[in-house]
């Protein structure tokens, strides 16, 4: 296999006793849109800052096109970056902001003028050259920042929650713009966010960060359909977790026993769990069905309906299992049960075997 465009190789960063990132290992292909998704303090921004050269890793290496960049100072890495905060140079016009990277590279005047014009056109700010940053909206400022980061054709563009200061509507608008710009330029993008919807909307692949480590890397559908850990299952999409005991573990499949004696046999399992250990069954509200007949063994549970809320195109049903844990079911409009289901009904939830996941509990 040829070496990847960007290789983050076993990055570890500690601040005193605090481990910010640990064993971060990732290969990013040329032109890929990779998102670091995770809660604050999960190490995703630290990893980005190490890439930018603002922090040095305690251990590990970063290779761009096969060559380590750790010894190269930030200003010679040729990397583009859009920051969370507005970082336009306040004393320079929009045109001069975008021209700045070319001026410090001593590019000829004609080339600067042409490239600035092209970059501003790319972010749909044609003719804004003479505006001052203070007279622009937050969304416009971030688009100029994007033009400034792309004007020198960097091999990698880093984006550190660039839309978090904007309101929801504007955020969605610029997400769409970023997607278009990615497709148009083919630039490799590393994007940091804590917003799963933003990650799903933008990315080719998502690396889910938690407590300094990458829990799972995959496309949005992969993470949704087969989460590797409890954390990923919880972070991507809605989910409910039912806690039970591992009665039997064999060939990556488990038999779960719940506190009231209910047994679920032959469920696919993630992680290493010993017999007798605690485990959780994860079910997604939109991937389970409500029925008055019992389903196949291992893919069905009896429940009592506790609450039904009509939400327009679907109804949210809260049910309780025999041992008292809550379970959420989403019934799409037109579902045969939708009209009849009501509080106190004793029914069965059923699911496809691939939609249930068992995680061992620490």
């Amino acid at each position: 296999m040829t070496s990847p465009h960007l290789h983050i190789n076993g990055i570890r960063k500690t601040f005193g006793d605090v481990v910010a990132t640990d064993h971060v290992e990732l290969e990013i292909g040329e032109g890929e849109f990779m998102t670091f998704l995770g809660p604050s303090g999960s190490g995703k921004s630290t990893t980005l800052y190490i890439l930018a050269g603002f922090q040095d890793p305690t251990a590990g290496d970063i290779r761009l096109r096969g060559k380590s960049i750790l010894q190269t100072p930030s200003h010679k890495r040729n990397i583009g970056m859009v920051f969370q905060r507005y970082t336009l140079f306040p004393h320079l016009s929009v045109g001069e902001n975008v021209a700045f990277p070319l001026r410090v590279r001593r590019a000829p005047q004609a080339e600067i003028a042409a490239k600035v014009k092209r970059a501003l056109s790319l972010v749909r700010l044609d003719g804004f050259e003479d505006r001052m940053p203070a007279n622009m909206s937050g969304g416009q400022q971030q688009r100029v920042a994007l033009a400034r980061a792309l004007v020198y054709d960097p091999p990698v563009l880093l984006m550190d929650e660039p839309l978090s200061a904007l309101d929801k509507k504007l955020r969605e608008e610029i997400q769409y713009e970023i997607r278009r710009i990615h497709q148009q330029t083919g630039v490799t993008i590393l994007y940091v966010t804590h917003d799963q919807e933003e990650a799903l909307r933008l990315s080719d692949r998502i690396a889910v960060f938690n407590r300094g480590r990458i829990e799972q890397v995959g496309t949005g559908p992969e993470l949704y359909a087969s989460p590797a850990t409890h954390f990923v299952a919880d972070f991507i999409g809605d989910s409910a977790f039912l806690t039970g005991e591992l009665a039997e573990v064999k060939d990556g499949r488990a038999t779960l026993r719940f506190t009231d004696g209910t047994v679920l046999a032959d469920v696919p399992m993630h992680g290493v769990g010993a017999q007798g250990g605690k485990a959780e069954l994860m079910l997604r509200p939109e991937r389970i069905d409500l029925s008055d007949t019992v389903g196949p063994p291992g893919a069905s549970l009896p429940v009592t309906v506790e609450d039904v809320t009509f939400l327009g195109n679907n109804s949210a049903v809260t049910a309780r299992t025999g041992w008292g844990e809550p379970l959420y079911i989403r019934l799409n409009f037109g579902h045969p049960m939708m009209a009849s289901v009501s509080r106190g009904d004793k029914l069965h939830v059923r699911w496809q075997p691939q939609d249930a996941h068992v995680f061992t509990k620490e």
Binding site: P73, H75, T87
Partner: protein
């Protein structure tokens, strides 16, 4: 807003009146001295019986006055340059630095502002006696720098605090070396603070009199010292003329400072 001026009714007229009286109270001595400098009486009589430019003529004809004004300007310019340069470095350390005792250091830098000037003057006089700096240009500059620096540090730190260091990081990622980023981005972005610091430092040195009296020698004295010593010998309206010119320069520089502040908030 704690109080809405438009909703105060009759109170607003009373408040406006108090304001006007305060302004008059502060400005009247200055207007008085300006009027006297154009008055034709030898004895500083107010209101002047007639008007003349004679005292300005006398002022400009006397080489001692010009010498004093030149000395003042020279000291003020040197103090201004040093104060901005040192103030910038101190501010960078105070705002960007992460070290123990930073707050103590900040307090230490600002002590000349709260210490009575006469105490600084006595202390410096005693110290400079040993060093042989009394009555020298270096002595004047050091003395004025001590009182000018706190203002310089306050204005420059203020500008630096509102400047997001991420902007400097952005410049570095754009390809500028750390020094290039500071000179092409950070300094221009805080230039309003640097200009204000320069103007205030110049003014503080320009009209400082207590330290200057201690530092002055018969051959080296600043304009305010010249005014003060002349005043003790005779009460000539030339003093009023000199004072008027002092005030004029101060007003011009204050207006410049205000315009710079306005330009910044644009």
């Amino acid at each position: 807003m704690l109080m809405n001026f438009d909703k105060l009714g009759a109170w607003r007229w009373i408040l406006s009146g108090i304001c006007a009286l305060m302004a008059l109270f502060l400005l009247l001595p200055i207007l008085f001295i300006v009027a006297l400098s154009f008055g034709n009486s030898r004895w500083l009589i107010f209101p002047p019986p007639g008007w003349t430019l004679k005292w300005y003529g006398e002022l400009f004809a006397d080489p001692r006055w010009l010498q004093a004004a030149f000395t003042s300007a020279k000291i003020a310019v040197i103090v201004m340059v040093l104060s901005v340069a040192i103030g910038l470095m101190a501010s960078l350390a105070l705002v960007r630095g992460r070290f123990r005792g930073r707050e103590v250091l900040r307090g230490f830098f600002l002590t000349p502002m709260v210490l009575p000037v006469v105490i600084i003057a006595v202390a410096l006089y005693a110290a400079f006696l040993r060093l042989g700096l009394n009555g020298t240009l270096v002595g004047f500059v050091i003395a004025h720098l001590i009182v000018a620096l706190p203002f310089s540090i306050i204005t420059i730190s203020g500008a630096l605090e509102t400047f997001d260091p991420s902007i400097e990081d952005a410049a570095i990622l754009c390809g500028a070396s750390p020094w290039e980023a500071r000179f092409r981005v950070t300094l221009p972005a805080i230039s309003h603070g640097l200009f204000s610091a320069a103007i205030f430092s110049f003014l503080i040195s320009w009209d400082e009199v207590v330290l200057a009296i201690f530092m002055a020698s018969p051959t080296l004295q600043t304009l305010p010292v010249k005014v003060w010593t002349t005043l003790r010998q005779d009460l000539t309206p030339v003093i009023a003329a000199a004072s008027t010119l002092l005030v004029l320069l101060t007003v011009v520089l204050m207006i410049a400072a205000a315009l710079i502040r306005k330009g910044k908030s644009r």
